[in-house]
């Protein structure tokens, strides 16, 4: 049952998001250097951090898949990576907006977070085409898991390398998260928590939807017989999901 607990989770998410947004706009003080523009920090950085963690979690799920050969782990890996990719796009867009506001350019190369994000995005953008290019579902899941693990290990490595390459050339454009005054740190933490909850909720939502779809299909097959259901989807990048209660703990 993937959907168990989804309702309470989403309520908590809404509350956290409301609290975070209120703190950002009503509580956090204006920053000395960047003024009001700095408020983007509270949405851009959490999106970035959660996306990166999501990729790593996707790799962990992939490890579980390769060990247990249970396809529900592959499904979780797929959904997590997919959602992280969306959040990564959000991080890139908000980062770009921030750069435009700060420097007048839509892109800056001397902000290491943004740059390593671009590389990670380009890498994970190949995840779906890779899946789509392999027809056999079992092989697709297996190869996708190998890719997810490799890419997951790549994320921190890439971060280090890009950081090193920009560190000694220019000062950080968009500022880091260290040396934050207390009120800003609180706001940041709450925003981080809110975005985390949002991510988890959306992933759970997605898993539940896919599972439901599979259950409907199974029901149709049972009622109408094998010829009643449409031919097995042709080529698809989406992993097959079992119809038994695969998600024991929900997510």
């Amino acid at each position: 049952m993937y959907g168990k607990g989804l309702r309470s989770l989403s309520i908590v998410t809404v509350a956290a998001m409301a609290l975070a947004l209120s703190l950002v706009f009503f509580y956090a003080p204006l920053e000395a250097e960047q003024g009001f523009l700095q408020k983007i920090f509270y949405i851009h950085v959490p999106l970035a951090i959660i996306a990166l963690c999501g990729f790593v979690v996707g790799a962990l799920f992939a490890i579980a898949h390769l060990r247990t050969r249970d396809s529900s782990w592959d499904m979780r890996s797929y959904v997590t990576i997919h959602m992280s990719l969306i959040f990564a796009v959000g991080a890139l867009i908000t980062g770009s907006i921030w750069a435009k506001g700060s420097w007048g350019h839509w892109w800056v190369w001397n902000e290491p977070t943004l740059v390593s994000f671009l590389i990670v995005f380009l890498l994970y953008a190949t995840y779906q085409p890779l899946r789509f290019a392999i027809e056999d579902p079992e092989r697709q899941s297996r190869y996708a898991s190998v890719f997810a693990i490799t890419a997951g290990a790549f994320v921190p490595m890439n971060f280090i390398a890009v950081r090193l390459s920009t560190a000694y050339l220019h000062p950080r454009v968009l500022g880091g998260t260290s040396n934050l005054p207390g009120s800003m740190r609180l706001t940041f933490m709450v925003s981080l928590a809110a975005v985390t909850l949002l991510f988890v909720t959306m992933c759970k939502y997605e898993l539940t939807a896919k599972h439901t779809r599979a259950q409907v299909r199974a029901l149709r097959r049972r009622l109408v017989g094998e010829d009643g259901s449409p031919a097995r989807r042709g080529r698809t990048a989406v992993p097959a999901v079992g119809t038994q209660a695969a998600g024991r703990s929900g997510l």
Binding site: F36, G90, T94, I97, L219, R220, L223
Partner: protein, 79 residues
């Protein structure tokens, strides 16, 4: 008291340049969520339709048919 004074000085809305960018960034977040909501809505309506069909099928009287009628019924079921 000083907090109130500070609030009194802050303009109603920062309509300078920075405000637009901040708004744009947060709007991106909203759009992402809304796009996802609409995708889910489409999926939900599709599931509803399919379940409706299946309900009809299962609620239909148990066919006592001659084989021909049964075959004809299954033919007409959308595949």
């Amino acid at each position: 008291m000083s907090a109130v004074l500070v609030l009194a000085e802050v303009p109603a809305l920062p309509l300078n340049e920075a405000g637009k960018y901040v708004a744009a960034a947060y709007i991106v977040l909203v759009i992402i969520i809304l796009i996802y909501v609409s995708i889910m809505a489409i999926r939900l309506s599709r599931i509803e339709r399919e379940l409706g069909e299946l309900l009809e099928l299962s609620g239909a009287p148990k066919p006592e048919p001659e084989p021909a009628a049964l075959a004809a019924h299954q033919e007409s079921t959308p595949a």
